[in-house]
Amino acid sequence: MPGAGSVILRRGLILLVTFVIIVIVVAAIVEGTGYSKDIYEAMIREIVNGEVMALRRGGNITEVFIEQYKKNRTHQLRVEFELIDENGNEIPPYRRMWSLVYRSLLFNFTKTDKVGVANVVPTVAPADVASIIAAVLPRTILVVTVGEVIAIAIALLIGPRVAYRHGSLADRFTVAYAAIITAVPLWWLAMIFIQVFSYNLGWFPRDLRGVATVLNEFWNNPLNNFVEILRYITMPITAFVIWSLGSWLYGLRAMLLRVIREDYVMAAKARGIPEKLVTRRYVLRVSLAPVITSVILALAGSIGGMIITESVFNWPGMGTLYYAAIQEGDSMTLLALTIVYVGVYLVARFILEILYIIIDPRVRVR
């Protein structure tokens, strides 16, 4: 595919620059408002207290010594965290933020000591933030990806049928469904699901946190665990599919309706090409590219819709991690989550742009 390479390279570069800019802006906000200073001070206190405890256990230490140690060590750590320089002068935030930017770009986040946050994995506190996020992220991606695939499959099944019967009851019902379902927030739909299916009918567990252990021990007993996982994952995926289907159906239908009226569709029929082939090669194939761009870019965005929903379901993914971090005031995890989320999003967009270039040849010559 000639020409595709340079387009891909350019897009990739733009996305990389965007990422760096965002990290810088976020770091600036976080440092400028003193938000991160709180993080550092808290961490310093934590470290010093831990060391003091170890000292006390060691044996005969006088209180005076402890006080002195605390003072010196705090000062030392403050220098290390770049809150002050060696002479005790405060380092202004706009200089401090650059090291934060540097560390963030390398995904070097420290530890968290909040139990609620660690419980999402689940693991014990204090735990390494980066590995918590790494453990938790795939669970979100799992639900979103499986959900989108199912939604796309259903939409592809129903879409052409409905578009061909333009104006029929099925068609109007589809439009009504799409309009209504996109007005409803997915996370509220989740609440209703929980009430109906978990509380009233008792089909599914009320708190989906349990799936974490099943996932972690999946390979011990794959068949049983798979069924167990189904019990947990059905609700979030179903809610997501029902919701996502709305925009897929509407977008696909609108695009199909436009394409069906195109001259080349009629010309293909004139050439004696059978209906099924026309639908596949002339209608779907052509519609897919623009529909895929607009709605599949929403796949990266669906992570957003899923975040709040996850926290409602207590599904142990990014959403629940966010909720725990907010509840416990864990600023470091929040910062790390922001960086990771943005990074993942940009990577997803990049992949999808490559996909788009493969699918629609018109884009290659830009």
């Binding site: 938000y35 957003g304 966010y322």
Partner: protein, 642 residues
Amino acid sequence: MAASIRRSRISRISESFKIAISEIWRQTPGKAALVLFILLVAMAVIAVVTITPDFLVKWESASYWEDNPVVVPPCWVNSLGYKTAKTAQIYFTTPSSMEVSESETRYIYTYNYTLDVNEAPKDLYVKAEVPLLCEEGVFKAPTMRVTVERPDGIVVLAWDMVIEPGKTGENVTLTCGSLLSAKTSKETFRLAEVTSAIMDKYNITVPPEIAGANETYVITANSIVRTTIRTELENKYLTILSVFVKPISYKISLNRNTTILEVFSKQINNLKTTFLDLGINIVLRDKIIEALDKAANNITWVINNINTVTYTDYLIAMNNAYENLNNVNKLALAASAPVDVRSSVDDLTKTLGKFIEVATTTPSLIQPEIVFDVLQGDYRVNVTITYYGVKKPPRALSAKIGIIVKGGCYGILGTADKGVDIATVVLYGTPIALAIGFATAVASVFIGVIAGIISGYYGGFIDEAIQRTVDVLGNIPLLPILIIVGSVAQRTFTGEAKSLYIILTYIGILIIFGWGGTAITVRAMTLSIKEEPYIEAAKALGASNTRIIFKHILPQVLIYAAAVLVFNVPGAIITEAGLSVLGLRHGWPTWGSVLSSARAENRFDVWWWILPPGLMLSLTSLTFVLLGLAIERIVEPRLRTL
């Protein structure tokens, strides 16, 4: 001339506005949208007009809603067959009646309450604010008495308390007429009297064949019954609700289990054996054996008569046994029996003593089983405020008395945790939601239109710059930025306007990320309009750029912008709600805050808590989407078939 042009321009605009509305009305979705829109605006107006200024601050404190029952459904569920007790919150400012006598003046406040369901209310209390009267330099503080006349005739004296200043721990200088406040509580409730009244009325006493003849023991037995009733009322009916219950059945029986008696018996026999083998003074030993025998007989007698023995006789026998064992103790000491033997005797004695104590204070020997149920009927609550020694009592007492009965339902939409009235918050959330939505939409579209026109019309460097900026902004996911900035905002802002600043921050971020889409489309529109021949003609005629923009480009763009604006309104509202649910609360009473407290309390089982706010969100969103679609169809008739 200019005035008539201006007038005609205004009339033209209003004309086209009217046409637009009628066009929208013609389509069914448009009709629905307009109706919903008017409803929303009406709700918002009502809310703004009726809101009290401190609601925004106070609504999150539990004390604001303390008179409401907690997490109860709306009262109309009663008509659907789900019966609950009514909630009554009655405030009196004038007494129902007044009685004056030589030494005291009584102000009486009466409220009739009907309980017609088989479920007791959840709470009952009285709040009073009474003035401190004074006469000849002496302060007169009143007492408050609360009685409840029950449908079964019992008049319960629920509370009788003195209303004293300084109860709230303040050091306030008292003046004549200053208000003292009091509130009844579980702790001051006269449960003992209620218990007695119930026992008297329903004749709950230990039957003589169980109790026996001895007056003391009869009294003891009855007091055990009383204690049992008290415990039941405290535990199952939260003390205060005992006002609303009556016993429907009771059974008082004697514990006819002989196991422990047989153990005693055996132990006494063991002692006997031990003593028999002991080498002690024979005389004493014989006396010991005799005492042991007597004790054994006491117990055996009870065992043999276990099916007919009365409480009195049982205890008399056990007491005798105890006395006898005590004797054995003394004798054993006198006989210098070995320490271990003596301690055995001592232990047994103590155990027996314990047994007797338990039998006379707890429902172990006497076993009362009393089943209570709700007493349905008409109740009358009387609150009497009495002042002593006031010679010239005021006719109209400037007191406020509140009688609160917390039932099982409340209001139009029920309550959430802390008794928050969901209907109130839903109503007051409407103008806030609309304000957030419109502010964001108007600002985004405004900036977008300006940027788009400038970009499309002037081109060049600024066009490139705007396009690049929009491109970069479009690549950034909104949610994580909102979360981190929201989190920072929560920590940074303090003080009174904290909530407002947090919301403004959200709106700001949404605007920053929102103007781009509009700008790009407007730019495309501007570009294509720019190529039109009439633009060229206008330029040739000497029209300035500003004139061309305002007269030719802007009107066409504005129609599109109207549709985009309407589409954009719900986005901000739902985003704010979502952030609240995620835990980033800002403190204002929005629909999202109700859902966020549902999530925080994990009460997804409460349908009246999660349905109304969510429905409001969905309906608002739907309204604007339909409205936007309707406007779009007018602009682009081709889309009518879609």
